[in-house]
């Protein structure tokens, strides 16, 4: 301090002024280097670590509720899951055109309705996002000869045993040469899993 006071008292020489300027510049450089290359990166890295830690802690906190939610949902969805499995099992493996017509033929022959033919009319995907994995198949089932009561019983059984099948059109006509018998054509829409 005394030295500085002495310096103030006496006028600085040119050489001393240059040295003073050099010291000031050195100080500025030191401060710049310190903040730009040492303290700045350190603080940035610390801030990043803190942010990451907070994020992870939030995730850990929410993960507990997420897992609880999942286990509760698992319990609640028990019925839906078993129903879904039942629905899925209604669609056997393989192309529907391969198994549906024989299945219908066998089904109606159990009700003494013979010579039944089923042909695929059209198929289309569903627009609902929930049914993205399902397809709608429209079939035409033709029965050349049956009688009304037998047909009614068969249709009742079909509607009960195939929940994902809906009859959209029914046409029953009396046979011209045998009015006690009828000829029937059913249009059925089935909802099946995409294979």
């Amino acid at each position: 301090m005394r030295a500085l006071q002495n310096m103030k008292k006496s006028k600085l020489t040119k050489d001393q002024l240059q040295k003073l300027m050099l010291s000031a510049m050195g100080f500025v450089v030191l401060v710049y280097v310190y903040f730009a290359f040492f303290l700045g990166p350190l603080n940035r890295s610390r801030a990043q670590m803190l942010a990451k830690m907070n994020e992870l802690q939030e995730k850990i906190g929410s993960s507990k509720s997420e897992m609880n939610k999942a286990s509760k949902l698992e319990q609640q969805a028990g019925t839906a899951t078993s129903r879904f499995d039942v629905f899925k099992n209604l669609s056997p493996e393989g192309a529907p055109i391969a198994w549906f017509p024989p299945r219908m033929k066998l089904f109606f022959s159990n009700y003494n309705i013979e010579k039944v033919t089923a042909r695929l009319d059209s198929s289309s995907p569903f627009k609902d996002p929930e049914l993205a994995a399902w397809m709608r198949y429209n079939w035409v089932i033709e029965m050349p000869q049956t009688d009304f009561i037998t047909l009614g019983n068969a249709v009742a059984a079909l509607e009960n045993s195939e929940p994902l099948l809906a009859l959209t059109h029914v046409n029953i006509k009396a046979l011209a040469d045998a009015p006690q018998f009828q000829q029937a054509t059913l249009s059925a829409s089935t909802t099946l899993v995409k294979r």
């Binding site: 002024l17 040295k19 050099l22 949902l73 839906a80």
Partner: protein, 222 residues
């Protein structure tokens, strides 16, 4: 007054000059600032290292939990998908129109003096059910017999479905006679247009009963 001779004047002057050398003083200031900065940096670095170790612990915890959380999230999404799909499929099943109970009702309405020759029906989710029934009726008043059938259908179908309409599209006398119980009776040919809405509120409430109806019908038929 004694006379003092300072023989070391030059040396003292030089020493004083050295002492107040600005570069030297600046170096002292810089060194002091450097020491303070280093201390501050060290403190910050210590804190950062501490945070790093805490972060490491949290990361280890998270790496332990993460597979379970991911699996739980995946399962949740899967279950939500199953639930919503089942809901939609259940809705489709519930909104189906069951033809068997309808056919049963039609068969109950047909009297011995009437005969149906054709039945053509369509069920649509939005438009409801439209059926065209074609047949012949005989009797002393064949048109009255056909009207009886229409009334009967209206009455029977109205018990289950809503907005039931049964209207004649055609009703005409025929030249041919029918033999009913040994007597020749005149005949009339008719076409009935039957329209109703099976998806109305009242019938939706009765939907489970209707769903069971075909089984009941089977037993009756047996």
């Amino acid at each position: 007054m004694p006379l003092h001779l300072n023989l070391l004047h030059e040396e003292i002057y030089e020493q004083r000059q050295r002492q107040r050398d600005p570069l030297k003083l600046g170096m002292y200031v810089l060194a002091a600032a450097g020491v303070m900065m280093f201390a501050w940096y060290s403190w910050n670095a210590y804190e950062t290292l501490e945070i790093k170790s805490r972060l490491g612990t949290v990361e280890r915890d998270w790496s332990k939990i993460e597979p379970r959380v991911t699996a739980a999230q995946k399962r949740s999404a899967e279950l939500n998908g199953i639930v919503s799909t089942t809901k939609v499929l259940d809705g489709m099943i519930d909104s189906r129109f069951f033809w068997a109970p309808f056919l049963e009702k039609v068969s109950r309405c047909v009297a011995p003096n009437a005969q149906l020759t054709s039945l053509d029906g369509t069920a649509d989710d939005t438009k409801g059910v439209a059926v065209s029934i074609e047949g012949v009726a005989s009797g002393r008043e064949p048109r009255a017999a056909a009207e009886d059938l229409r009334q009967m259908l209206l009455d029977q179908l109205g018990q289950t479905y809503k907005d039931v309409k049964v209207e004649f599209k055609t009703l005409e006398d025929l030249d041919t006679l029918a033999n009913v119980a040994g007597a020749n009776m005149p005949m009339a040919r008719f076409i009935l247009a039957v329209d109703f809405n099976p998806y109305s509120n009242a019938s939706k409430a009765a939907a489970p009963a209707r769903a069971r109806a075909p089984k009941h019908e089977e037993k009756q038929a047996d």
